[in-house]
């Protein structure tokens, strides 16, 4: 992380003028409680798109951008959410360290929850740094029966205060205009009780709350967290999500992408095939093998056939469908409720309920999922969560290929793959909980209110994640297909296949060439699963192959984040567990099926 390289000098006196106003403004920090809309705010003022969701802890690292302030280009940093500067968690530690490197703080506060938000404001006012306060989510105050006297609040705090609605952009310009008025009142250092007393005094004078009737959204909110109603609701939500993802994914493939590839792209490629002389090195590389004189997009293994079909024709539809649904669940604010409902189960696996959020992200891609394990407090939890995700949670790309290949043999085989992975996830969690030293802290999270997701927000996030997939996966997939072609050509795989035959055929019951898929799995799991297609495997072998490929070694992208998040020692441990689990599960599955 870049900011770590900087020295943590306290803000020099020269950064604040004699009147307490900012001088030589270079770096603005966006600070506030978790889930008050800092990230949306950040996108608004910098134009940098970031992932924002309706749950505490979406921003675990920090994001940098810049904005124009008059003539000057100023750096803006989206600091992870924090309730206090007293560093009671990793995110808060990061936040309070970054504070020493900033020149000005825009304190984003949730206007619908003013009392708690003002505590951090009080702490900020004690620091030698100019502050300006944004009362965000202002639009929600009215129907919640909250009225805040902004002018009086400004007077009480001694710094500019502006109501804002980051989602729509309301009030942002006014706030930016008043940034030069930000000031540091430099209050004396106080105790916690004194700060709360100050907050209580302010609230009494600036806020009036009128009774409001429970809205249906609030009723639903309570119903989805009470065990008797919450668990059925969770079952319905998850089942519906799964069905909708399949419906959209299959629909896109069946009605859009397959026709495109079969009717438009295939004839074009056949012409190219003929032009290349129907054989030879370049033909094999670009078009690949023909089956009965036809291109088979799953099996031909040419860069322009299978290489394009896997990412665009098979995986992309599911990426779109998955991230659309995930984005909606995130922005509505459902996931923290799932965390509360599943807390009991997750505790048996050495985690607490909040670990369900990285796990759900893992169904999309391992990389952001492993990074999101930072929302968990202890190192032990982060290790268990990251290991479980990288072993037993198939990413959307793998799932798309499993559904495409294994699903062709019948739905029950897909169910077997998912069932096995779920059992592995559970069992491994139970084992790790006993084997890894230390204890897991209890759940302590804020449950955000349900919010109506903005289409703009959901679609922006969907675009960012889809684009991320195309930018990062597409080149690797093309490269992988190309490399496979060359290695086949040179006969390298035959040598490896002979060498690993005892494990691959003896233990897993797969043909020797299956090792190629396992090796390629290190580059991309979707391509690896695709490599099972030309082996003409039985349904049972496909199930074993899919499970083994999902569990065995993370793909290179996941490998890199695992190393970064767990350290080399943690990574080696995770990989050891991974190899052992794959051998045991693959072997058992082969015996049973």
């Amino acid at each position: 992380m870049r900011w770590r390289e900087k020295s943590f000098d306290f803000v020099l006196p020269s950064d604040v003028g004699e009147d307490g106003r900012p001088m030589g403004l270079k770096r603005i920090l966006l600070m506030g409680n978790p889930n008050v809309g800092k990230s949306v705010f950040f996108s608004r003022i910098t134009g940098v798109k970031v992932i924002a969701s309706n749950y505490p802890g979406t921003t675990v690292g920090f994001t940098k951008g810049s904005m124009k302030l008059g003539e000057e280009e100023v750096e803006v940093i989206d600091v992870p959410g924090t309730y206090t500067l007293e560093a009671t968690s990793k995110a808060e530690e990061v936040a309070s360290q970054m504070l020493q490197d900033g020149d000005l703080v825009i304190n984003v506060a949730d206007a619908t929850n003013l009392e708690r938000n003002l505590y951090l404001t009080q702490e900020l006012l004690e620091r030698q740094i100019p502050v300006i306060v944004a009362l965000n989510i202002w639009d929600d105050t009215k129907h919640k029966g909250i009225s805040i006297d902004v002018a009086k609040l400004e007077e009480r705090l001694g710094v500019p205060v502006l109501p804002t609605v980051a989602v729509t952009g309301q009030g942002i310009k006014e706030l930016v205009d008043r940034i030069p008025e930000a000031i540091s009142p430099a209050l004396p250092q106080r105790t916690r009780d004194e700060r709360w007393a100050a907050v209580g005094d302010i609230i009494e004078h600036v806020q009036t709350i009128t009774h409001h009737h429970h809205t249906w959204l609030e009723r639903l909110q309570d119903a989805s967290i009470k065990p008797l109603t919450g668990l059925p609701i969770a079952a319905v939500v998850l089942a519906a999500s799964f069905l909708v993802i399949r419906f959209i994914g299959e629909g896109l493939i069946g009605y859009v992408l397959e026709p495109l590839f079969e009717n438009l792209w295939a004839p074009l490629m056949m012409k190219l095939s003929v032009a290349l002389g129907s054989s030879g090195f370049w033909h094999d590389m670009l078009i690949g093998n023909l089956f009965d004189g036809e291109i088979d997009f799953f099996q031909s293994m040419g860069v322009l056939t299978t290489g394009l079909f896997i990412p665009l024709g098979a995986v992309l539809p599911y990426i779109l469908a998955f991230y659309l649904i995930l984005g909606l669940l995130e922005d509505v604010g459902y996931l923290p409720r799932l965390a509360v409902l599943l807390d009991n189960l997750m505790h048996r696996m050495g985690l607490h309920g909040y670990a369900i959020i990285p796990t759900m992200l893992g169904l999309g891609c391992c990389v952001p999922a492993i990074m999101a394990t930072r929302i968990l407090e202890s190192k032990r939890e982060r290790f268990i969560a990251a290991t479980l995700i990288s072993i037993a949670i198939p990413c959307a790309a793998s799932q798309a290929m499993i559904i495409g290949l294994v699903g062709a043999e019948g739905g029950q085989y897909v169910a077997m793959v998912y069932g096995t992975l779920f059992v592995v996830w559970l069992t491994l969690g139970l084992i790790l909980n006993r084997a890894v030293r230390g204890f897991s802290p209890e759940l302590l999270i804020e449950i955000p209110p349900y919010r109506r997701p903005s289409w703009r927000g959901v679609l922006t996030k969907l675009w960012m994640r889809t684009y991320g997939f195309l930018r990062e996966a597409l080149p690797i997939i093309l490269l992988a297909i190309f490399a496979i072609g060359i290695l086949y050509h040179l006969g390298v795989f035959d040598a490896i296949a002979n060498f690993t035959a005892p494990v691959v055929s003896g233990l897993f019951g797969l043909p020797e060439e299956g090792v190629v898929a396992i090796v390629v799995g290190f580059l991309r799991k979707d391509v690896a699963i695709g490599l099972l297609a030309p082996l003409s495997l039985s349904a049972a072998q496909l199930v074993v192959g899919s499970v083994v490929l999902t569990m065995f070694l993370p793909c290179i992208a996941a490998f890199v984040v695992l190393a970064r998040e767990l350290g080399i020692k943690g990574l080696l441990m995770a990989i050891g567990i991974m190899l052992a689990a794959t051998v045991v599960v693959g072997g058992l599955l082969n015996l049973v099926l």
Partner: protein, 97 residues
Amino acid sequence: MKEKRQITVRQMQPGQSGTVVQILGGHGPHRGRGHGGYGHGFVDRLHSLGIRPGRRITKVSGMFMWGPVTLQVGRAQVAIGYGMAGRILVEVEGEKL
């Protein structure tokens, strides 16, 4: 006849309100889902979420099998572990026993 009595958040009924009297920090014997680790950090974190002496809170729900307890604290809802719930003392009004 009604009287004030002190109970823990664990003992509250869903829907019941009370005023926080004390949060018991430190390491002590614990049952159920208690894993230890109730140092100062835990009290600080509850404080920063607005759960502190003098504050009126309402229990929204409790999961069965020593699961987490959801509290309404002002305009926010906070979910806490069962162990923590046993360490928050609240004063509630109830029928005299």
